[in-house]
């Protein structure tokens, strides 16, 4: 069965303090790995898709990377508005399996 594990469960950073979130996965036939951001009371907001090991994507202060077993979401010099839950998901055929997320809090 497809499995996605995210760590840490929660992360508290000072504004400007860079860090990384981890997503490890076990799937057969990965078609894509996705990162989403979810704010309280809202649906997940799409950030990145990664398809193959070695691929990297960047958007503002966020950078996502992919290996054969895990993905990292690097946050550089975060701001309070980056506070949210970050979800990782993998797609096999039409089924998308999500991790439980990392709740990020950035303190001014």
């Amino acid at each position: 069965e497809d499995q996605v594990t995210q760590s840490p469960e929660a992360l508290r950073l000072q504004e400007g303090e860079s860090s990384s979130l981890n997503c490890s996965y076990t799937v057969s036939g990965l078609r894509g790995l996705f990162w989403y951001r979810q704010d309280p009371g809202k649906g997940p907001e799409f950030l990145f898709t990664l398809y193959s090991a070695g691929e990297e994507k960047e958007k503002e202060r966020l950078k996502a990377t992919l290996t054969k077993k895990e993905s990292f979401l690097h946050i550089t010099a975060p701001k309070p508005e980056d506070s949210a839950t970050y979800l990782c998901a993998v797609q096999v055929y039409q089924k998308v399996t999500f991790g439980t997320g990392t709740k990020l809090q950035v303190i001014p």
């Binding site: 907001e45 799409f46 898709t49 439980t100």
Partner: protein, 114 residues
């Protein structure tokens, strides 16, 4: 450009009742997926609809059923509601294509079972 819209936003039901949730996909999208998200958990895949057919299903009982209409909108039906069905139900739409397209989510329907 309207995103994914879901209705209603909140719903309260009692055990044993039936419920129907509705979803309009993002303009230009033809595929709709439904997810259940319990508090503090990631979304869990219920099923996906494409061309009015259920294309794949997650580990949910037959009490959960769906439908997709010719205009690509979709409904999720849940029968014989249980307390454990209380959750946020999310609809996501995407465009079917050769390279897997990211899903765009609505803000969900919060279902509470008393």
């Amino acid at each position: 450009d309207a995103g994914v819209t879901q209705s209603p936003t909140h719903l309260i039901k009692t055990r044993g009742q039936q419920v129907t949730l509705r979803c309009s996909p993002k303009s230009g999208h033809d595929t709709v997926s439904w997810y259940q998200q319990a508090l503090g958990q990631g979304p869990q895949f219920i099923f996906q609809y494409y061309e009015e057919e259920e294309r794949q299903r997650g580990n949910f009982p037959d009490r959960f059923s769906g439908h997709q209409f010719p205009n690509y909108s979709s409904e999720l039906n849940v029968n014989a509601l249980l307390l454990g069905d209380s959750a946020l139900y999310l609809c996501a739409s995407s465009l079917a294509g050769g390279r897997d397209q990211p899903q765009h989510f609505g803000d969900g329907t919060r279902l509470s079972i008393l």
